[in-house]
């Protein structure tokens, strides 16, 4: 019954380093070290403001895209400032494959970072809107790069590159994270080739530990925070909500 459950109260620690990855993405390194599985996330509390989910891009770091109020404040924090962290949460990638293709779309590359160098991942496809948004491509050995505007790598969507790779028949698993519309399209490609996937999804989160129900996806009540965030093909095939809609803070259904 007794959970060692102070892991579910934000533990504040100091930021030790802030790295500017792209004009809109920063990596925040902190004192605390998590033992985690790639794909797991933490809830990040900005004291007095709000708390948001962020994938661990390393044992002691998160990588944040400035998209709104909280992420904007996160971008303004300096070494020595306190942030609160709880987790790690979720399942992480199980990497049930021997020859894996990893696909990162935009800042969806973040949860893949701890997997750079993983021997079972034969190739990375990293895509972004433009050159400025590409993350860490020079840290990866075998990488194919594409941008929407062609400013770097191929001018293409990641789905196109993935289609080409899968056509080789060289892969037994595709792992990915990125905008849900992209994931939906990528899933279609994978299903076409009969290749299994593990995709990391996002939904609004409140508790992060399977209690509030806010992140549950239709029609099976699959909880992104606890059952996910990584969904495999079997799950994705059931999630009618996937790629279509989500719920806002009030719980109301809104289109993606």
């Amino acid at each position: 019954m007794s959970k060692n459950s102070l892991m579910d109260m934000p533990d504040t620690c100091r930021i030790t380093k802030v790295l500017e990855e792209t004009p809109s993405v920063k990596t925040i390194v902190f004192e605390k070290e998590f033992s985690f599985k790639p794909g797991q996330f933490v809830m990040v509390w900005v004291p007095g403001l709000n708390e948001v989910p962020m994938s661990l891009s390393g044992a002691n770091q998160i990588t944040v895209k400035d998209v709104g109020k909280v992420t904007h404040i996160l971008h303004s924090l300096k070494p020595g400032d306190f942030i609160g962290l709880r987790g790690p949460y979720g399942n992480g990638f199980s990497l049930n494959g021997k020859r894996i293709l990893a696909v990162g779309g935009g800042f969806g590359t973040v949860p893949l970072k701890p997997l750079f160098g993983n021997k079972r991942i034969k190739k990375f496809i990293i895509g972004a809107r433009s050159k400025l948004n590409l993350l860490w491509i020079d840290e990866i050995a075998d990488v194919a790069v594409c941008t929407d505007d062609g400013s770097m790598g191929e001018k293409a969507f990641v789905t196109e590159l993935a289609d080409r790779e899968l056509a080789t028949g060289n892969y037994d698993l595709v792992i990915s994270c990125g905008p849900e519309k992209m994931l939906k399209a990528l899933f279609k490609v994978c299903e076409k080739y009969g290749v299994d996937v593990e995709f990391s999804l996002e939904r609004l989160m409140k508790c992060g530990f399977g209690v509030c129900g806010h992140c549950a996806m239709d029609p099976i009540g699959w909880m992104v925070c606890k059952d996910g965030p990584v969904a495999d093909s079997r799950i994705l095939r059931q999630l009618t909500e996937f790629g279509n809609y989500k719920r806002d803070m009030s719980g109301r259904v809104v289109p993606l």
């Binding site: 609160g84 409140k206 530990f209």
Partner: protein
């Protein structure tokens, strides 16, 4: 062996998903039903869309959970998919509702009654907003008025006010609800409220600053409240607060409950807490020679 009844509503077993835990969509309610719950309660529904508080909203402080989700709701009108999908749920659905005024309670109740839930639960006990919830549950006359006004529009659907442990007038409130025509009572909502302050930053951690306590920490309070209510009213009681084992359920039933709500238990033992509690309760009943839940109800009053 585990069958029980809340008012005229039959339950296959006494475990009920408490309001606000997981109950945000029909999909997750179905999942809870197939995890073994005897009935499920929807997250409290209000009159208008409401986002609730910012995060953090739900945390564990160790001995229990503390939450101030702040009654987020799509609003009763914006839930047509949910209502449709709820129709084929395998167990009774309890619709929890709230309002910022008695008129709003009535407005929501009228609409919701039309969707034919098994029971309408009145949340007059949430400590986590300023104008809703427990402000309607502290004084017997106010609580009674909410019940009787709602009863006026719900026709045959049983009405079950959910009481707060945070009023010293709990017994009087329960009695007023009975007198006003309540068909059942559920108790308790969260305790306190409490506050957790992060000492490194000297900031209250919850966005709303304070939050209600739930889970093992509050179980004795819940048991005492159910015991007290049982002494003053003749209504079926759904005992809620800190239940996460079969023994906890037995304790609540002996205090006077016909059925037990489980909320934080989902945190402590996973979504299949319902099945676990049922199995344990059944084991306990066999060992001690109880044949029905009914035999155990209120036994602690000798």
């Amino acid at each position: 062996m585990l069958e029980t009844k809340i008012a005229e509503v039959r339950l296959r077993n006494p475990t009920v998903l408490a309001s606000g835990i997981l109950g945000t969509s029909a999909a997750i309610l179905k999942r809870v039903a197939s995890s073994g719950a005897g009935a499920v309660t929807m997250k409290s529904i209000g009159p208008e869309p409401r986002a609730g508080h910012n995060n953090p909203t739900v945390l564990s402080y160790g001995p229990g959970l503390i939450n101030a989700v702040g009654l987020p709701t799509p609003g009763y009108k914006n839930m047509s998919e949910e209502w449709e999908q709820l129709a084929d749920l395998e167990v009774p659905v309890i619709a929890s509702i709230y309002g910022g005024s008695i008129d709003e309670f009535v407005e929501v109740a009228r609409f919701v009654a039309g969707k034919k839930p098994a029971i309408i639960e009145l949340n007059i006990s949430c400590p986590n907003t300023k104008k809703h919830g427990q402000v309607f549950g502290f004084e017997p006359d106010v609580a009674g008025e909410v019940v009787s006004r709602v009863k006026g529009v719900t026709e045959e659907i049983p009405v079950m006010p959910k009481l707060s442990p945070n009023t010293p007038k709990l017994k009087e409130v329960a009695k007023a609800c009975e007198d006003a025509g309540a068909d059942a009572i559920s108790a308790i909502n969260t305790v306190g409220p409490g506050m957790v302050i992060d000492v490194n930053t000297a900031k209250p951690v919850l966005d709303f600053k304070t939050g209600g306590l739930s889970g093992p920490a509050i179980k004795p309070i819940a048991v005492r409240c159910v015991y007290d209510i049982y002494e003053v009213v003749d209504l079926p009681i759904v005992g809620i607060g800190g239940v996460s084992t079969g023994r906890d359920a037995a304790e609540m039933i002996m205090a006077g409950a016909v059925s037990v709500g489980i909320g934080s238990g989902v945190y402590y033992r996973g979504i299949d807490v319902f099945k676990k509690v049922c199995d344990e309760l059944e084991g306990f009943m066999e060992e001690r020679g109880y044949k029905t839940i009914k035999e155990m109800v209120g036994l602690a009053h000798e």
